[in-house]
């Protein structure tokens, strides 16, 4: 099929090619290897985001002053005793680098597996994009160290979740559920989910970007700007919670939604509820109780403990959970887009086009 040949209005040629994977599947044997590599990639990318969050929480980005070496050693050959039994900051930073290297290798392996097993050009393109992005992300992390530039740390923190979302995308498009969707007809009431899901996805990422401004607030950031950022982060967080809940309700209400999408819809609601609680908790363990609550009753005894376990855990969890929300909204949006594309295919005027698309 050529993208221009399908004739479906409302979809770009790239998206059309991407969403048409199922038609290729009918022509060939399905290999599960790319999917399992993608599963492994997601399973390692998320802990990497968590450990990266720990690096920020503990301001450990400069615990190792050189890059790509670690105190002059090759990354993989740095004495493990010095790493495991050394200072906490060094443990976290070097651990982040090791895990990052592992994710990089897994990404390359995933890309190879996809390249061998998939014929869809956009899935192959996604594999290449993942490989390029993981290299770019690694270099960003390195530059943050070499330049001692905190703005690069912030950029690094924004690219990480985007990479994770792409990992989820790879996980979805290599799955059997996705490929089987080419034979699934959309049910009544499906229209509109794709745009709502797109908005939720956009808000989820915007929240991560705003959160990075709060987390990486520079010493010279104006108090008024920080305040505006925090307020916007809170307002958009509530907006995201509403939008994603609406999408989840639409997905679950139809009952005919794909099962992965249903699971993601339930998950995103739970994750958002947790995220709101984690946000308040993260603020409390870093800056004390919000809204002047620290002046009243037994709350007046609340004491912030710098570098405490709660501060480390809750702050990092809030950040990492943001990536999970991005991942689940990505999954929901992918299935919504796919369904929308299927709906467009069904309403196409000529079956000849479909035949051409699968030939």
């Amino acid at each position: 099929m050529t993208p221009a040949a399908d004739g479906f209005a409302g979809h770009s040629p790239f998206i059309t090619t991407f969403l048409n994977i199922g038609n290729y599947v009918t022509q060939q044997q399905h290999s599960s290897w790319p999917h399992w590599w993608a599963v492994l990639l997601c399973a390692t990318a998320f802990p990497l985001i968590w450990v990266g969050g720990l690096v920020t929480t503990h301001d450990a980005g400069m615990a190792v002053p050189d890059w790509p070496t670690t105190y002059g050693y090759n990354l993989f050959l740095y004495p493990w005793q010095s790493w495991l039994f050394g200072p906490w900051d060094l443990f976290v930073e070097h651990g982040h680098r090791l895990l990052g290297a592992a994710v990089g290798l897994i990404t390359l392996a995933t890309a190879c597996a996809v390249w061998r097993a998939e014929t869809n050009s956009l899935v192959r393109g996604l594999a290449i994009a993942l490989a390029c992005l993981v290299v770019f992300q690694g270099v960003l992390g390195g530059l943050r160290v070499r330049l001692d530039a905190r703005w690069l740390a912030q950029l690094h923190a924004c690219v990480g979740p985007a990479f994770f979302a792409l990992c989820v995308t790879m996980f979805v498009v290599t799955s059997r559920s996705w490929k089987n969707m080419s034979r699934t007809l959309p049910s009544e009431g499906s229209s509109g989910i794709n745009s709502a899901a797109s908005l939720a996805l956009l808000l989820a990422y915007l929240q991560i970007v705003l959160g990075s401004f709060v987390r990486h607030a520079s010493w010279d950031m104006l108090p008024a700007l920080f305040r505006a950022t925090v307020v916007l982060h809170v307002v958009l967080g509530i907006g995201l919670a509403g939008q994603a809940s609406y999408v989840a309700w639409r997905v679950l209400w139809r009952r005919t939604s794909p099962r992965p999408q249903q699971a993601a819809a339930i998950a995103v609601v739970a994750l958002l509820a947790a995220q709101l609680a984690l946000g308040v908790a993260a603020w409390t363990v870093n800056y004390g109780l919000p809204f002047g609550w620290g002046q009243h009753g037994w709350l007046a005894g609340h004491l912030v403990t710098a570098r405490g376990a709660w501060q480390s855990l809750l702050t990092t969890a809030h950040q990492a959970n943001g990536s999970l929300i991005l991942g689940t909204t990505t999954l929901i949006a992918l299935f919504a887009w796919r369904e929308s594309w299927n709906a467009g295919r069904e309403s196409a005027p000529s079956t000849a086009v479909l035949n051409g698309a699968t030939s």
């Binding site: 050693y73 004491l303 403990t305």
Partner: protein, 412 residues
């Protein structure tokens, strides 16, 4: 780097082709530019109050840099100073006069990093700057959200201390605040940090305070100058008249630590009853602010000195914002029935609060202002108040005299 070195596991020199490629990439990414190193800003309030013109502002900024260095290099602006022959005193002399420990300052200053042993650097920027600001002006990014606002060190006034009202805090006072934190506020406890790191932060707080006070003194010195006359740059003025007297106040702090006498020997109930009477009396006048029930519901429209400075200028909120300052806030007296003592819960700590008051706030001291002088209350009476105040969290609310105010009723 050769393949053998790569697999040997030994430290290797990677600086060659790899680094060259890296820097080519960097130049492309950063546009050949790097961020300017951070600088201390001027005290805008002092500049406005002293009506300092642009020429003198620049001169004050230059003098402060020459005396104290920069946020990255405290007392290390020697190269710039060497190029400026106007100064007849070296920065080493400023450092020696200040009595500060350069090694500790270097540990606290600069950008955040740590070495292989885990010893941290840039501690102030890691732990403090987001609230207290790079110059210790209490104007970090997070400041608007915090209640109370973060402390502005530049006036050299600190609430939590063991010394007389006008005296500086001791090193142990500052260390104690950092170690214990202040409950009910955003000031964290740094008890998990190594003691040498807390020490370094204490030294840096003193450094910022000394620098801030020097700035104010330079502004005050302008009043003695003719119009257009530059500030003197000689040792006699900068060291003898400015820095030495300031340093002396820090060094003398230990002499002003309050050492209360033993409490009077009597039954606790009796002492508490006497304390209650004093609390309600016009002599101690605690009820004016803390209210008859000690719920902190007395006068609630007063200001601390950091806010009052802006109130006195009668500025519009927009003018205050234009100065980069935070919106004015009232200071609220403590609810003494909470059992939360921000500056220490020991009887000794409470005694010192009542004896000396709290610097920078409307809380007055009732003890003698200087040793040997006569105070509003005797030491025994202060002990009675201490016992009463410490009994309040366990005391049933028993209105005395007038009915509770509206605020009290709400709290009840």
């Amino acid at each position: 780097m050769g393949r053998r070195a790569f697999f040997s596991g030994q430290p290797a020199n990677w600086m060659s082709l790899r680094q060259g490629l890296l820097w080519i990439f960097l130049v492309g990414l950063t546009g050949c530019g790097t961020a300017d190193p951070p600088q201390f800003g001027l005290n805008r309030l002092a500049m406005r109050t002293g009506e300092v013109n642009e020429e003198h502002r620049q001169q004050i900024a230059d003098i402060l840099t020459a005396m104290f260095g920069t946020p990255d290099d405290p007392f290390m602006a020697r190269a710039e100073q060497a190029a400026n022959s106007d100064y007849d005193v070296s920065q080493d002399a400023f450092l020696a006069t200040s009595g500060l420990d350069l090694a500790k300052l270097q540990m606290a200053a600069g950008s955040v990093a740590s070495d292989r042993s885990g010893t941290g650097r840039g501690l102030f920027r890691e732990h403090c700057v987001h609230c207290h600001g790079i110059g210790g002006d209490g104007l970090g990014p997070t400041a608007p959200f915090l209640n109370p606002y973060p402390r502005d060190y530049r006036q050299g006034k600190f609430k939590a201390k063991s010394t007389e009202l006008a005296a500086k805090p001791t090193r142990d006072d500052l260390y104690g605040v950092l170690e214990r934190g202040i409950p009910g506020t955003s000031m964290p406890s740094f008890k998990l940090l190594p003691s040498q790191e807390i020490d370094a932060l204490v030294e840096y707080v003193k450094y910022l305070s000394l620098r801030g006070q020097t700035e104010v003194m330079l502004v005050n010195a302008l009043f003695d100058l003719d119009e257009g006359e530059p500030i003197p740059l000689d040792q006699e003025f900068l060291v003898g008249e400015i820095l030495s007297p300031l340093t002396a106040t820090w060094e003398e702090a230990e002499e002003y630590v309050i050492h209360p006498p033993e409490p009077p020997e009597m039954e606790p109930e009796e002492s508490i009853a006497l304390g209650r009477e004093l609390f309600q009396s016009a002599k101690a006048n605690c009820v004016k602010c803390h209210g008859t029930l000690a719920l902190g519901d007395g006068q609630r429209d007063d200001y601390d000195e950091w806010n009052r400075a802006y109130v006195d200028l009668k500025l519009e909120p927009s003018d205050i914002a234009a100065m980069g300052a935070l919106p004015i806030r009232n200071i609220h007296p403590r609810n003494l029935r909470l059992g939360i003592y921000r500056f220490g819960r020991r009887p000794l700590d409470v005694y010192r609060r009542i004896h000396a008051g709290i610097a920078g706030t409307p809380m007055p001291g009732v003890g003698p202002a200087t040793p040997g002088a006569e105070g509003t209350l005797t030491p025994d009476q202060i002990w009675h108040l201490v016992h009463y105040v410490r009994s309040l969290p366990y005391d049933e609310l028993s209105p005395v005299g007038e009915p509770p105010s509206e605020v009290t009723r709400e709290r009840l």
